[in-house]
Symmetry: C2
């Protein structure tokens, strides 16, 4: 219980952060990144503009913090003991992220924004997700399930890419079947040794 309390502290600072993150999400959902306003967050959260600028530095800091909270709370990293099953579970969690009526517009807002600030948020968010999910591949290597020289980052990218492609480019439904297919394609290619460590370049 002490650990849980430490993880989710109930103090005034934590309550303010929760209110600000919620307000930031609402503001993003209502106005997108382009029309996002710090004043809007102040009104929605009841936290003063001055406090928002002092503690978050402005729009990008607010969005970064919200996206981080959101990313962390939704990144349910699978550890089933079976590599193929872990891939399938991760693909399905991406599928949920891109179809949930709350998270889908948020992700779209972050992805459609085209300023340098938005690009930084995006990069940070996806790198931290990548970091969290990389162990799925590393554990499979340790278990001896997949080739040792596998490029973990490329595996994770290939897993999510077809779903983001449907979401951003094709405007087509992101089905559970699409998630399972992406997982099956990636798994086969990993087992066949296609993802050698110099696979994708940087």
């Amino acid at each position: 219980m002490t650990d849980a309390a430490r993880l989710r502290p109930g103090g005034r600072t934590a309550r303010i952060r929760t209110a600000v993150v919620d307000a930031t999400l609402q503001e993003l959902l209502a106005n997108g990144y382009g029309e996002f306003s710090v004043d809007g967050v102040a009104v929605r959260s009841g936290v003063s503009r001055a406090t928002l600028y002092r503690r978050w530095g402005g729009r990008d800091g607010l969005v970064m913090d919200a996206v981080e909270c959101f990313g962390v709370s939704h990144a349910d990293v699978p550890d089933s003991g079976c590599f193929d099953e872990d891939l399938r579970k991760w693909a399905r969690s991406v599928q949920r992220l891109l179809t949930d009526p709350t998270t889908a517009p948020l992700v779209r807002a972050v992805l459609l924004a085209d300023s340098q600030g938005a690009r930084n948020v995006r990069r940070h968010f996806w790198r931290s997700r990548l970091q969290r999910v990389r162990p799925v591949v590393q554990r499979a290597v340790v278990r001896g399930d997949i080739p040792e020289d596998v490029d973990a980052d490329e595996v994770i990218r290939h897993l999510g890419a077809p779903l983001y492609y449907r979401f951003l480019v094709l405007d087509e439904p992101i089905t559970v079947q699409a998630a399972d297919l992406a997982a099956a394609v990636t798994a086969i290619a990993v087992h066949q040794g296609v993802f050698g460590s110099t696979s994708g370049g940087e």
Copy 2:
């Protein structure tokens, strides 16, 4: 020569279309889809606003026509006689589309736009590209190189998706190696029968 002349007619109508398509591309590159202005196209092309509205119907018609010209002229559909090689060539042509200093910002503009009109342009453009490249898969089925029940559209999607994902989500370089990896992953999965005809759902 008569056929070539018929394909690229040199009449006044054709000259106007070429000027308008060029001006539309310039306008998109300069202002993106969001700030795109028909007046800007009129100034750049020397074609009157009235003619633009009469013949293209406005912004979406102009963009659709430019994107179509552009898509057609860049969709170099491979036919090497070898399925894996065709996939590699198509992935490399997507890689060029997303890295060429002229086409990359154009594709980004079309993809970042978030209006209903932009979504229509996008859908039309990608469906027509899909239609053009589908024979790569169909010819391989006829040759007996790959399983008969393969879902051609899903194959094409999985081929391009990792490159668009780097382009739109990760902001990472789209290398030739990334293209070759996407092709290798897709090819292995096709040969292993992962792309059954009910694979991705609709």
